[in-house]
Structures are given as C-alpha cells and as structure tokens.
Point group: C2
Chain length 176, copies 2
C-alpha cells in the first residue's frame, strides 16, 4: 500500500482529533482542490483499518454514534516515516489541468468561451485567498509556526495566480 489517503488522514488527525464525518468535511474544505480528495464512503472503512493497525484510536463517543478519533504514537511515527521517505517520482491526476491542455483541440472560438470564465474565476478566487492570507497574517501574526493551513494557503495563492496568468496569456494568444 502506498497509502496517500491513509497518510492524509493521519496528517489531518495530527492537527486535531475528529470523527469520520468531520474528516470528510475537511477534505471538502481544504484538501480537495490542490492536494487530495476522498469521499466519506472511502474514508469510513479506511478509519476502521487504521484503528485495527493501532495508528488511531477512538477517544470519545458522542451523540449520533459519533466516534472521535485521535492519532496514536504509532500513527505519528508512521506519518513521519512516510514523509521522510518520499518516492523518486510523483504523478498527478487533475482533470481540470487535463482539460486546459486539451483546449488545443478546439477551435479558437470554443477555446475562448471556456478560457474566459477560468480567467475570471481564478481572479476572483485569488482575491479571496489573498484576503484570507492577509487577515491571518495580522491576527495569528509573525511568530506562528508553519501550520498546515498556512502552507496550504500560501501554496494556493501562488498556484491560483499561476493559473490566472496562464489563462490570460492563452487568451491574448488566441487574439492574434
């Protein structure tokens, strides 16, 4: 098992304990866009396997059968082991980027009608991201450690900016 999902879950739990449902929402909120995505129906059985392997434990059971999981010592160790031994090669799967490249197979008019909304949406998203980074910078402030959220936010700003600039470049190329 290479186990990106498993380690994404360990990482999420190392930030803060959570139920399966809550973990699914975290994927929805932060991870899905650039890093990793998983649905509840995949997360749920994986949590059971991770508990079997003693990487996580149930630390509370609440209303609606809610089981709150926490990462164990063994889980922390496994996560760090995994992070310190990255594979030589990484592959990505982004249907979005695939579609960007395949715009080359459309005629210019169709390409333009698909590109323009991408340029607009990325500009808008960029403004939102920059605003979030700015407010986080003033409040939590200078001395804060490199949290998952900061790493992700700073990465997102730069890569959405890159997307925006690419889309604008492609649009000007189409107008020549």
């Amino acid at each position: 098992m290479s186990g990106a999902l498993r380690h994404a879950l360990l990482g999420s739990l190392s930030q803060e304990r959570a139920s399966g449902y809550e973990l699914a929402r975290r994927f929805e909120r932060t991870l899905w866009r650039h890093a990793w995505h998983a649905q509840y129906s995949q997360i749920r059985p994986e949590l059971d396997r991770m508990a079997d392997d003693k990487l996580i434990t149930v630390v509370a059971t609440g209303a609606r059968r809610r089981r709150t999981y926490s990462i164990t010592r063994a889980g922390q160790a496994e996560l760090q082991r995994w992070l310190r031994a990255p594979p030589a090669k990484f592959v990505a799967r982004s249907e979005f980027v695939l579609r960007l490249f395949l715009l080359s197979t459309l005629d210019p008019a169709d390409a333009r009608t698909l590109l323009a909304p991408i340029a607009d949406a990325s500009a808008e998203e960029l403004a939102t991201l920059r605003a979030a980074v700015a407010t986080a910078g003033t409040s939590a402030g200078a001395g804060a450690p490199l949290s998952f959220d900061r790493l992700a936010a700073e990465f997102s700003v730069r890569s959405v900016a890159a997307l925006h600039e690419w889309a604008r470049w492609a649009l000007t190329e189409l107008d020549r």
Copy 2:
C-alpha cells in the same frame, strides 16, 4: 463513465496517431506531472474498448504486432462534446502537494531537509522549461496556433515557478 483517461487518449490521438506503447510514452513524457497519468496496462484495454466504440481505429499494423491508432470522426466529436461540458467541480490528487502541506507535522529541521531539495529542483526545472519555451518561441515562432505542447509548456513554467516561490517562502519562514 466520466472518462478522463479515455479523453486524454482521444486528445493525444487527435494530435497524432500512435500505438498503445507510444501513447504510454507520451503520458510519461508530458502528461504525468501536472495533468494526468496512466500506465500501459490501463491504456491497453481502454484502447480496445475505444475501438469497439468506434472512437478510434487501427490505421496500420507494423512490426512487432504494432497497431497504429487514429481518432475517428466520432472520436473527435466525443472529445469536443466532453470538453464543452465541464463538470461544476474538479478534484485533484497529487501526492506531491499533499506531502508539501503535511510538512507542517514535522519539526523544523526535518521540514528544512525536505524543502531545500524541492526549492533547488524546482529552480533547475524552471530553467529548463524556460529555455524550452524560448527556443520554441524563436523557431516555430509567432503565428503558431495554441498547440497542446505550448499550452502545457506555458502552464508548467508558471506552476513550477509558483512551487519554487512557495518553497523559498516556506524556507525563510522556517528561519525565523
């Protein structure tokens, strides 16, 4: 079937006809890093299904049982239909980016030893990409259409630059 692989193959064949083996090499060379990845053992049976569906046809059989495929009219139409109807939401799976975000779970020394090579490698890759874009710009030149390769190259330059700048930002944050 959502079928990103199928449409990636159609897109590749709409550029130029190829055998299954050649398509696998194209994934290896251009698509895998940012857009999509597939191995031969997945491509091979998909080509058979696409041929059954008349989206591609064998246009030549050569040495070593090589079958060269070409996209059909129906295949072109299917590709364009798919491109013109993008889903509302896209998810990405990049173990590389996941690992970047999870650096937050390591202590600063370990994070630095993983980040520094990323900063270096991305700088190097960026130089290579910029050089390739520059030479392509002077030779094929101004009037060329938006080919798959140009779209991919210009996108790669911008997103590798974004990665590099993010890594340098993270390293300076670690030194405070």
